[in-house]
Amino acid sequence: MNRIVSKVKNSLASKVIVSTVLLSLGVVWLTGSALYSQLSDGVRQVNLETSLAEARSSFFNAQYQFLLVDGANSSIITRTVQEVVISSTQVSLSQDRKSLFLSRFGPAFDNGPDIAAIDYTTSTDDLDVSSFPSDLRQRVKTSDLVEYEYAKVKFKNREDANVLIAGRRIAIPDSGNYEMYLVYSLTNQNTTLTLIKNSLFLTGLALLFLIGLITWLVTRQVVKPVREAARIAHQFTDGDFSQRMKVESSDELATLGTAFNEMALSLESQISRLENLSRVQQRFVSDVSHELRTPLTTLRMASEVIYGQRQSFDPNIARSSELLVAQLDRFERLLEDLLEVSRFDAEVAVLEPVEFDLVQLIERCIDDVLANEDSHIISINIDHETEQAMISADLRRVERIMRNLLSNALDHAEGKPIDVTIVSTRTEVAVGVRDHGTGIESSALSRVFDRFWRADPSRARVRGGTGLGLSIALEDARLHNGELDAWGSPGFGAHFVLTLPRIAGQQIGGRPIRPQPIDYPQTN
């Protein structure tokens, strides 16, 4: 049921068909009922008139017969009564069954009642007289006219039935006043009415079916191009811009098709233009970087040769050679980072996952970072729950993330120890790097991963970072489907948490290490 409902909801054609059929059902129902009530009224009316006319004639005939035998002997009257009963209940082919009931209720004539006279009370068809409506009997007894009423009467030997009862007062000579009733069965009338009802019902059904069919055909004409457009739009989403709609007429749908095709064409050209632009841009950055490398190599070697001889120079030149070497280093790092950023921007960065032990890698990174650190003496404490954390990830990138996080922490630690936490779960590993330095304003947290962003522009760069480190680290983490979170608070230092899936590319389920450190006082 739910499936049908959802199918109807999801298909325009079904929606239109269902609503059209439902509305038509209402209309057909109303017209059908009106038609039926008119027809049945007419049938009943005609039937009533025929029956009453026939009843009048029967009553008249009976009255006449009895008048003729007035004064005759009782055997003749008895025979007359029998004749009246037979003639009144005689049924022609087209007529319904008829029953008769005769009941004495008083003297016939004013010239003295003769209660002892023969009582001709009789009934055909085993009528159960008690079921006659009493007010009808009252009316018949007092009135001189033909009285009638529809009623349900009982029969002793067959089922009860709805009938038309017509009655009149009749006088039988030497006997008294009688109520004479003719009971008309309504079987024929009911059969006719049932027939009408059934035909109306079937016609209505056929009509509904036809309306549904027509609606379906018409809707299909409209919906088909719409569906086609939807299908093509889906293919656009998948990157296939070659599809076009067929335009075969000049109606509104054709306008839709034409507009749709124009949009596709424009989209296609826009996208290919942008793709081209980005390819040219990426190519240019990459070319520039590569072209810069050869002279940079020469420069580095030359500076090294000069630097190697610095003892024989006077102090200013010696210092200059040191600066030259240091700045060339920085220049080269910047170049590497720029090239990497351009790879991320062009979305050509490729993940090359291998299996390795993250704990071992981090220990090595810490050794390297500390070895290069000559001006600061900072201890880095590692706190990890497991001896080993095997992950499948891009070794070069993870190493770069760790180096970036560690040197960033060293830059801001202000000589205080740095804590590194490693937590490994079944699906992910997390590394937290916490310094206890100046910290970051919460308003600046969203910007720490921005390129070339510096927490405090007035502060001197201590280690000559490129300003791209954290930005690249974030991109590296995301390339693994991992995440890099930052937390900071002035006076409480900063906390960077790297979360990586155990197998690069899978989803991370949560954060084994929360960015907000446990030792930070809760404000709420």
Binding site: H290, E291, R293, T294, P295, L296, T297, T298, L299, R300, M301, A302, E304, V305, E332, V350, E352, V354, E355, R364, L395, R396, E399
Partner: protein, 228 residues
């Protein structure tokens, strides 16, 4: 005196390389065009070739293939491209090692050159065998089933490093240290490519190796099928 052929189209860089190498006591032969390499190579065979990838006349990769067809001399590629694709192409063309410009230190380049010129397995001598493969370390000869196999010096060193401790599993990092002289490097592609090249020469079926076995997730070892 050792002779190194430097092939680079950048005159200044070539000159600078010349200064550095001469300073380290190495003779230098400078060539600036790819299509001139083979002529110089034949007239004055060097002990090692420093080869740039992008060259006028003939591409460095092609030059590398030409040299390899003639000689087992060590080749170190110089490349401004660090991309996997170019590195692997150079190694597959027969280069023993590669360095990406700009080098971290000129001394690193000199160290690499010296590693390639030196016998890396000086402590090993005599005859080593892996199955039916015989290695005469002193004569620098390898034969399998009586058939001599020509190996580059690096391939020879790689084979000897594995064969001198049969059954020991070498990680890629260990091999990088042992054969290439790297202290630590994350680039294990060097090992992979050279193991492939070595296999193509010594194995009957490189797809199903019997001499240089892969130990999944760890590295390589020397061995015969079913052996320890």
């Amino acid at each position: 005196m050792t002779l190194v052929m430097v092939v680079d189209d950048d005159q200044d860089l070539a000159e600078m390389l010349g200064i550095v190498l001469t300073g380290a006591g190495i003779d230098v032969d400078l060539v600036s065009r790819g299509d001139e390499v083979m002529e110089v190579f034949k007239n004055n065979p060097p002990d090692l070739v420093l080869l740039d990838v992008m060259l006028p006349g003939l591409d460095g990769i092609e030059v590398c293939k030409l040299i390899r067809a003639e000689s087992m001399v060590p080749i170190i590629m110089l490349s401004a491209k660090g991309d996997t694709h170019d590195v692997v192409l150079g190694l597959e063309a027969g280069a023993d090692d590669y360095m990406v410009k700009p080098f971290r230190h000129a001394s690193e380049l000199v160290a690499r050159i010296r590693t390639r010129l030196r016998r890396t397995n000086a402590d090993v001598s005599g005859l080593l065998t892996i199955g039916d493969l015989a290695i005469d370390v002193n004569a620098h000869e390898v034969s399998r089933g009586g058939r001599k196999i020509a190996l580059t010096r690096l391939e020879f060193d790689l084979l000897v490093a594995l064969a001198k401790e049969p059954g020991r599993v070498f990680s890629r990092d260990a091999l990088l240290g042992e054969v290439w002289g790297y202290r630590h490097s994350t680039d294990t592609r060097l090992v992979n490519v050279h193991v492939q090249r070595l296999r193509s020469k010594v194995e009957h079926n490189p797809e199903n190796p019997e001499i240089v076995m892969t130990v999944r997730g760890v590295g390589y070892k020397a061995g015969v099928m079913g052996g320890s």
